[in-house]
């Protein structure tokens, strides 16, 4: 049976189901305007579409917890239109269509551990680690002696992701990326 919680028991990261769609709570706040009643305003991530939606609930409302689990799995390889992951405990393999993996495919490489979200037993999303280290596949050589701080250039990483990096970064360098923002953090030693 679906478990219900009162809106006042809401927490960040809670997985909620509304009209058959699973959401993850990103942030929430209690609001009580003028002579109005108390509401809880919530920002939620639609786990099907990846869109952020705003909703408000009366303080007497309750929510249904979504039948969601997160499981750590290893990324094995990509094939045409899908990616294959393995459960490190049972060695079971699953294939997840590229459109469900979404943007995460630009952040993961073979052998990396990721979190897969299952809704009612079916995979609906892939969460890469917060930081990943990826190799620079292509970038223009930096101009020697250019010391303007903060100057950036484009680089394409081994996964096909294009990001902005500092001028001193060269092809073959390993760079650390924030997977939430998709931004360069630092160069790491191999």
């Amino acid at each position: 049976m679906a478990q219900r919680i009162g809106i006042n028991q809401i927490y960040r990261g809670a997985k909620i189901e509304i009209d058959g769609t699973p959401y993850e709570v990103i942030e929430y706040e209690h609001v009580k305007p003028g002579k109005g009643q108390a509401f809880v305003r919530v920002k939620m991530l639609n786990l099907f579409t990846g869109n952020v939606e705003r909703m408000s609930f009366k303080s007497s409302d309750s929510l249904t917890l979504a039948d969601c689990i997160e499981k750590e799995m290893e990324f094995l390889y990509a094939q045409k239109d899908s990616l294959v992951f393995m459960d490190p405990e049972t060695y079971d393999q699953i294939e997840i269509p590229e459109n469900i993996v979404g943007r995460a495919k630009y952040f993961i490489k073979e052998g990396m551990s990721v979190y897969i979200i299952f809704y009612q037993g079916k995979p609906i999303g892939v969460n890469p680690p917060k930081h990943v280290d990826l190799e620079v596949a292509r970038t223009e050589p930096g101009v020697k002696g250019d010391t303007v701080s903060g100057a950036m250039k484009e680089a394409e990483l081994e996964t096909g992701l294009k990001i902005m990096v500092p001028l001193f970064i060269q092809e073959g360098d390993l760079v650390r990326i924030d997977t939430e923002t998709g931004e360069y953090i630092e160069r790491v030693n191999k």
């Binding site: 009580k32 305007p33 002579k35 109005g36 408000s56 009366k58």
Partner: protein, 306 residues
Amino acid sequence: MTPWDKAKIWSEFLSSVRTFFLKRGFIEVNTPCLARWWSLDPNIRPIKTQEGYFLQTSPEFFMKKLIMFGAKKIFQIAHAFRDDPIDKLHNKEFLILEWYRTDDDIESIRRDVEELVYEILGRFPPPWKKLSLKDLFLKKLGIDLEKNKERDDFLLSLKKAGIRVKDDYTWEDLFECAFITEIEPFLPKNEAFWLIDYPYPLSAASKCKDFWSTRCEAYVEGVELANGYIELDDPEEQLKRWLSRGSKDEIDWEYITLMKEKGLPPCAGIALGLERLLMLKLQKDDIHEILPFSPLAEGKNKGGKP
């Protein structure tokens, strides 16, 4: 700052508020905090004593009684009590500044607020702009509130506009849900302005013209500071609204009788939260920081702060 430092700031602040009104010909009044009845505002929870008295949620009805006995321009700085959860902008007891102008309209009251705030804060000179809820709903959501007077129509329109609302919401719930989700987050945060054109169901004791009430709400730097309107003068309508919200023993029958016998002259009034005004003056974002004694003071170190 010690409680004594804060108490001195309050003393100076309250005396400048008093001077502001006395200079403009208002008379300061003082009415009871405890009564057998309460104002029956929906969504406001009063604090009740064991013997069945209520601590006032505002001095509104005593002050309007004074108006029926001849008062013209009166103000009061009163302790008010509401049994709401404590947060950055709410405390269970607070100082309410409430004033009335008889034979005058809401424009003059709005002017009072603008001049008072400008005098106290030294910013936001009058006049302030007015934002109409009617326009905001139309622009932001494509919803004409006047064409959505029926709950079922409103529910359908909001769903079409992509707002998540529950089927069992009342008209007021629907309005507030849409306001909180799609309107309020986008109101100007660094300005002072008036929110006007509140629909009739949202205004407890306000005189209404058809669908629209005379209620207005002052927002300063994102904080709701004051709520005012032209006072409802129809005893039957007042009784009807009260009966829809509470039991017969909670109603101020003396007020209804006076309204019938003497009549309430045309008047407009407003209530302003003084903690919030002082908070804005001192450029804080939490009223508990400026209270000499806050129920949160000891909770701060125990994770008791909401």
